[in-house]
Amino acid sequence: MKQADKRKLPYPLLMIILAGILFALMFVAFFLGQYQLSPTQVVNILLSRIFPIEPTWGPVAEVILFQIRLPRIAAAILIGAALATAGATYQGIFRNPMVSPDFLGVSSGASIGAALAIILNLSFNMVQLFAFVFGIVAVLITTSIPKMLRNSSTTILILSGIVVSGIFSSIMSIIRYVADPDTALPAIVFWQMGSLSGVRYGEVMAVSLPMIISLIALIGISWWINVMSLGETQSALVGVDFKLYRCIAIVASTMLAVLSVAIAGTIGWVGIAMPHLSRMLVGVDNRKLIPACCLTGAIFMLIVDTVARNLTRAEIPLGVLTGLIGAPFFIALIYKQRARIE
């Protein structure tokens, strides 16, 4: 163990490096976009919020930076951190490295909510609200099944998640089947692929506080997640209230997942791949892993979103890029850790 630790960078240094990479990417993301702004203009506009600088740019430039790029960068960072952290938490408490944040049916439920709102021709804000509400409903149903069965074991919870996801997926299929193929169906499909194209400053502000609180909560109970990853029996032996901390972890992770899906649609692979990458960097201790997931997830999502809005004239859905980048990356991770897995 000590030899393995020697190969890794010291944890504080690693976190500083990751934070530095994130900050640098944020800065770069400000410079990139379809609207042409010179680096000097970008720097001046950003600094003008702090220092009195005579504006040599038009009002549109400020709209671009502060109403389009900034909310988008912030949303990408929050969502990446949220999905990666939620994924790491679920993988810890369910003791399954393949679990993702939508394991309890969040994505399926949110997709139904969004699809219904699209079919009803509701506004984009209502689409997000419906996605949020139905995502929560899906998780509530999933967590209610063990209570009805009077068996709150992890196995039953996993099975409940599978069943609810399956039912909601079938309902989603019905919705897509009856949707107008020329109008509603393309909108539903595009929403499901994930995008931060129209994210607003207000939306980011609305989700940032609950997301940050949830992230802090998960970091706070990271030691208990370590214990829970040993199993229910072992946790009881150590004196940890397994159900209580599992409940807290599920609530916080669900909040992270459902808020992410509500504003950006369904985005896969972040919640699976980033925890594994983080384990390679910092090990399996959740006290180090969860904060590292915040940073690695944020970095990954920021890179993906920056590519999505700059690679081609048309916006590339985020789910497409996370799959194209995340899946091979995940295979590489598995390959690298194949000896340990065997």
Partner: protein, 381 residues
């Protein structure tokens, strides 16, 4: 262990029985007793004319008049995929699972030939309310899903479908020997072709020619007037969000160009509307923003209220418009696309196309199509 072996044997036997039953069962017969055609096969050749009665040498040809030739029972037409399709000589009923196809068929063949219903707001609520109660053959989900029992019950004379749905339409029509006519009204030229084909289907070539002439006339008058236009404004057609635009090649893009605009999204490729992002919209800064008639999730007010668009010329000047009509979309695959060109030209060049001229053209055209007066209020332009 013995019980498990017995159970496994039992399950295997059940599977074998099911497999044999499926394999031995007879192939389903088609409703008309003819074998089902394979997809892509040519339709049946025209039936040979009935042979004349054998001549009796004892008959005096001067005593009895020549028997009149049998009236033709079928006609051969070429659809928009280039297929030869045999349709009844007199078409009294058509079915379709595609709203634009139904609209165009009703415009050329008359509302009485429409045998299938449709949902949602449409001009049929006014001109043929009974259509809402007609059965629909679509099984849901649009492309490719048919309610075969309804189709078998209806047995329309002709089934009209968009050419892109060939693989998911023709095999089912072949099951019932229903002639399937493909149309492709996706651009101005192909709309004219569709009108001609439908005229042939319904044997109303004169009416179709009049409609085509009027349609072309709407476009020609705009083209002639634009010769003197001093300014070519920039414009874009939104899809289902404020950052989604209709790609190049879409009928909506063609309409605004024909109406005398420069389409800022001319180099955006795609099959439908494409999300280009808000930055791109700001970079383009179009003078006019059009919203497609069906609108999706956005409205004119929402676009005008979009704070990030506050500096766009179109927003500052209030030049955000939705294509008519809420009850008969002019900017989709429609015989009224020529009116859309006139309307857009009137919006962007009011000095070249007056409101009175537009109104007269619209009302006269709808009278030509449906034989009844339809108010401007209903059409909403």
């Amino acid at each position: 262990m013995k019980k498990r072996k017995l159970l496994a044997l039992f399950l295997a036997a059940m599977m074998l029985v099911a497999l044999l039953t499926a394999c031995v069962g007879e192939a389903p017969q088609t409703g008309l007793g003819t074998p089902a055609a394979q997809p892509g096969s040519q339709p049946a050749q025209p039936a040979p004319p009935p042979s004349p009665p054998a001549e009796d040498p004892a008959d005096d040809p001067m005593d009895e008049p020549e028997p009149e030739p049998e009236p033709p029972t079928e006609r051969l037409i070429i659809d928009q995929l280039g297929r030869e399709v045999v349709v009844p000589y007199v078409v009294t009923s058509i079915a379709t699972a595609h709203n634009p196809s139904q609209s165009m068929a009703a415009a050329i063949g008359g509302v009485d030939v429409v045998a299938t219903g449709r949902g949602g707001n449409s001009i049929f609520d006014l001109i043929a309310p009974h259509i809402a109660d007609l059965p629909t053959v679509t099984g849901g989900g649009g492309a490719g899903a048919f309610n075969l029992e309804v189709l078998g019950e209806l047995l329309p004379d002709v089934f009209i479908f968009p050419s892109g749905r060939y693989d998911t339409t023709v095999p089912y029509m072949d099951m019932f020997d229903i002639p399937a006519v493909a149309i492709h009204p996706q651009c101005v030229d192909s709309i004219l072709e569709t009108v001609e084909i439908l005229g042939a289907v319904f044997n109303r070539q004169e009416h179709a020619a009049a409609v085509a002439e009027a349609f072309q006339g709407h476009i020609n008058v705009v083209a002639e007037r634009l010769v003197g236009a001093e300014h070519t404004p920039t414009a874009v057609v939104l899809g289902n969000s404020v950052s989604s635009v209709h790609s190049n090649g879409q009928l909506q893009a063609e309409i605004i160009v024909m109406a005398g605009a420069e389409n800022v999204a001319a180099d955006v490729e795609g099959r439908s509307h494409v999300d280009v992002g808000l930055e791109q919209m700001l970079a383009w800064d179009p003078e006019y923003i059009f919203i497609t008639a069906w609108g999706g999730a956005i409205s004119v007010d929402e676009v005008l209220a979009e704070e990030r668009f506050a500096h766009l010329q179109a927003i500052q000047n209030g030049n955000v418009f939705r294509f008519p009509s809420p009850n008969d979309w002019w900017d989709t695959a429609s015989i009224c696309s020529g009116l859309a060109v006139m309307w857009a030209a009137h919006i962007m060049h009011p000095d070249l196309i007056s409101d009175e001229e537009l109104e007269t053209a619209v009302l006269e055209f709808y009278y030509l199509l449906y034989g009844m007066e339809i108010s401007r209020e209903f059409l909403g332009f």
